[in-house]
Symmetry: C2
Subunit: 371 residues, 2 copies
C-alpha cells in the first residue's frame, strides 16, 4: 500500500489535477493476495489516498497487469464516463523466499500441460533460448550484451532497482564468471534473469483536449494493442514466434497510423535477456532472427538508432510485477517530454512499449507520442 | 476454468455472436490464485474458449468483482475500441475448508484497523445488525423473513445453489430452531449468512445499435454507478449508512435519467440478511430505517410492488464471489426479457442491481432497461 501510494502521489503531483480530483483508479497487481495477504487493494488505496468516492478496481493479467491497467484507464477515459483516471501498478515481493516467488509466478502457466510437470518461467525462457541458438546463431555473449547494456542504462536511472555496472569479463569470459553468474536454467544465467523487486509506478490519464489545461507537455496515447496466444507454449505453431507480440504491436501501430521505423525508443519486457531480442523482432523493429545483430551493432544502445530499455528494463530497473507495464509507460512519458536526464534519447517524438504476460500469451503494447 | 467456460459458452450461445467473435474478455474472480493456485486466468480462458487473440484481463474488486467486470466491459464497448465484450465471473470455493474461506474473505478488511484484531465479514455484519436493531426496531424475525423470502424465490430458479424451503418455525421459533439455525456472529445465525458456493455467470455486451442485429430482445445498460467508502467501517461518520450504496445508486439513476420508484425489480447483495434491508433503503427504494417494514408488508416479495432478489439472492442463489455481480446482471436480463420462468416479475421494464464490495467500501450499481 505504501509503494502504491508513493507512486500515485508523485503522478498526481506531476499531473497537477488535485483540484479536479480523480474519477477512477486502476491498480495493477499480480499477487497482492498471495504475497501480502491483502485483497481488494484498489478500494483500500482509494481510501488511503483520500480519493473517495472514486471508482476503483484491481487489474490482474500476470506480468502484463500494468499494461492492462493503463489500457483500461485509457478505455475509461475514451468511454466518456470518466475524466481523470489513475493507473498505478505495484508489487511487494522481496519479503518472501525466492522459490515461493518462482512458484507463484509459475501459477500462470498451463496447469496440466506445464505447471504440474514443474515448468517455471525461467525454464520456458531457457527452452526458447535454445531454439534461438540453434536456429539463428544466437550465443551466450549476445545475451550477456543485453544485460550489460541495460545495467549501463540503469546507472543513469535514479529509480532503478539495480545500479551496478557489469562487464563481459565479469559475467561470462573470466575465470570468476562462473561464480559471479551461475546457471539458472541452462543456457540462462543469473544475469540473464530480471531480479525479484519491490516497487510501484503510476500515470494519470485525461482526455487530451483537457490535458492541455494541466500540462504544457502532455503525452498522447496514440496506439494501444493487446492480443492473447495459447497458454501452453507447446501448443504454438512455431514456439520461437511471439505471435501475441506481433498482433498487439500491429494493432498499436495501426491505431497510431505509424510504422515501427517511426519509433524513436522502446521499452521491452526483458524478464529474460532473450525476450528483449525476440520482442525487438516480433514487434517489427528487426527481421526475425536478426535482433541480436542489431544489438551487437549498437543500434539498441543509448545513442543508437533505436535505444531499447533506456530505463534499464526489467533486468536492471527491476520487475515488481504489477508495476512493470506502468513503469514502461512512465519511462516513455519522461523520454517524450525530455525529462529523462542522463539517459535522455535525443529528440524523442514517438515511443513504443511491450508488456508481456505469461510466456507471451497476453501482450499489451502502446505507442505514445509527444504532443 | 470449467465453471467460467460453461457460463461463457451459454452466454455466447445466447448472444448468437459466434460469427462476429469476441474482442475482449473480462474475468471477475476475487481469489483464483489463493483458492485454486492459478493466476492470469483471463488469458487461460481466452485460450480455453478458442477466442484467441481476444484481449483478456481479470478484474478483482472483492465481492464486487463481478459488477466491476461488467462495468469495464461497458466502458470497453463505450470507448469504441471493442465491439463484442464478454464479462464472466466465477469462483471455486467449496474445496477449501470454511474457515480458510472466511479468513481469505477477511483479507479485504483494513489490515491494521480490522483484520489483525480478528474482524471478519460476519462480525462486521453482526455489529451493523445490532446498530439497526437498537436504532430502527429491527428484530431477528425480520432477518429470518429475508431468508425465507429468498429461499422461496430460489425454489423457482434452476440455477440456485440452495433450493430448500424454510419456515419461521424451522429457523427461529420452534424448539429445534436453535439446532437448525445456530448463531454465527450474534445476532446473526446460519440462515442469515450466504453460503460458500461454486459457480459462474456470464454476459455479452455489444453496442446497442448493433445488438439489435443479433437479438430481438436486447437489454440496455441504462445506468452504471460506482463509489468507494472508507475501508475501516469505524472511520465512517455513521456506520449504519452505506454511503457507497447511496452514491453508486445515485450515479446509476442519474445516468439512466430515472428515479428509484421507476424500478420494477432489484437484485441486492444479501451476503447477510441485514444487507438486503439496508441496501433497499440506501439505494433509495425505502426511507432509512423502514426497509424491514416494507419487507413485512410483502412489498419486496414476488408479486409485491418491488420484488427484491427474485433469483434467490446471495442467500439462496449462492455467492461464488466473482460470479455474484455478473449473476445479478444476468437475472435482470432474464427478467427484462420475460424469460425468468416461475419467478418472472410481470411486465418488468426497468431493473436495478447492487454489488457490494468489502463491507460496503466499493459498490457497483446498474440500471438495466428493456429495449
Amino acid at each position: 500500500m505504501d509503494l502504491l501510494a508513493e507512486a500515485s502521489l508523485k503522478a498526481l503531483d506531476d499531473a497537477k489535477i488535485w483540484d479536479h480530483g480523480v474519477d477512477s483508479i486502476y491498480v495493477a497487481s499480480m499477487m497482492a493476495g498471495e504475497l501480502t495477504h491483502q485483497t481488494a487493494i484498489a478500494s483500500a488505496l482509494a481510501d488511503y489516498l483520500g480519493l473517495l468516492p472514486a471508482a476503483a478496481e484491481r487489474i490482474e493479467n500476470g506480468p502484463a497487469s500494468g499494461g492492462s491497467a493503463v489500457k483500461n484507464a485509457y478505455l475509461a477515459v475514451a468511454s466518456g464516463v470518466y475524466d481523470a483516471v489513475l493507473a498505478v501498478g505495484g508489487e511487494k515481493m522481496r519479503h518472501v523466499p525466492g522459490d515461493t516467488v518462482t512458484d507463484l509466478v509459475a501459477t500462470m502457466t498451463h496447469p496440466q500441460g506445464e505447471y504440474q510437470h514443474g515448468v517455471t518461467l525461467p525454464s520456458l525462457a531457457a527452452m526458447f533460448t535454445r531454439l534461438y541458438m540453434s536456429r539463428y546463431g544466437l550465443t551466450s555473449e549476445h545475451l550477456a550484451k543485453v544485460a550489460i547494456k541495460n545495467h549501463s542504462n540503469a546507472l543513469k536511472n535514479p529509480y532503478a532497482h539495480i545500479r551496478q555496472a557489469i562487464t563481459l569479463e565479469g559475467i561470462l569470459t573470466s575465470r570468476e564468471a562462473e561464480v559471479n553468474n551461475p546457471l539458472v536454467a541452462d543456457p540462462l544465467r543469473l544475469y540473464d534473469c530480471c531480479p525479484v523487486s519491490d516497487g510501484a509506478a503510476a500515470v494519470v490519464l485525461y482526455p487530451l483536449e483537457k490535458a492541455r489545461e494541466f500540462s504544457d507537455s502532455p503525452v498522447k496515447v496514440a496506439g494501444i494493442g493487446q492480443a492473447t496466444d495459447t497458454l501452453a507454449v507447446h501448443d504454438r505453431k512455431d514456439p520461437a514466434v511471439l505471435e501475441a507480440v506481433r498482433k498487439a504491436s500491429q494493432l498499436a501501430f495501426a491505431m497510431a497510423k505509424i510504422n515501427p521505423k517511426d519509433i524513436d525508443l522502446a521499452e521491452l519486457h526483458d524478464a529474460f535477456t532473450i525476450l528483449e531480442i525476440a520482442e525487438s523482432e516480433d514487434a517489427g523493429f528487426f527481421k526475425k532472427g536478426t535482433g541480436h545483430k542489431a544489438l551487437e551493432e549498437g543500434v539498441t544502445s543509448l545513442g543508437g538508432r533505436l535505444p531499447i530499455n533506456p530505463s534499464g528494463g526489467l533486468k536492471a530497473r527491476g520487475h515488481p510485477v504489477g508495476a512493470t507495464g506502468v513503469a514502461q509507460v512512465v519511462e516513455l512519458t519522461w523520454q517524450l517530454r525530455g525529462e529523462a536526464g542522463e539517459r535522455q534519447v535525443q529528440d524523442a517524438r514517438r515511443a513504443y512499449c511491450c508488456n508481456f504476460g505469461g510466456f507471451g500469451n497476453n501482450v499489451v503494447s502502446f505507442v505514445l507520442e509527444r504532443e
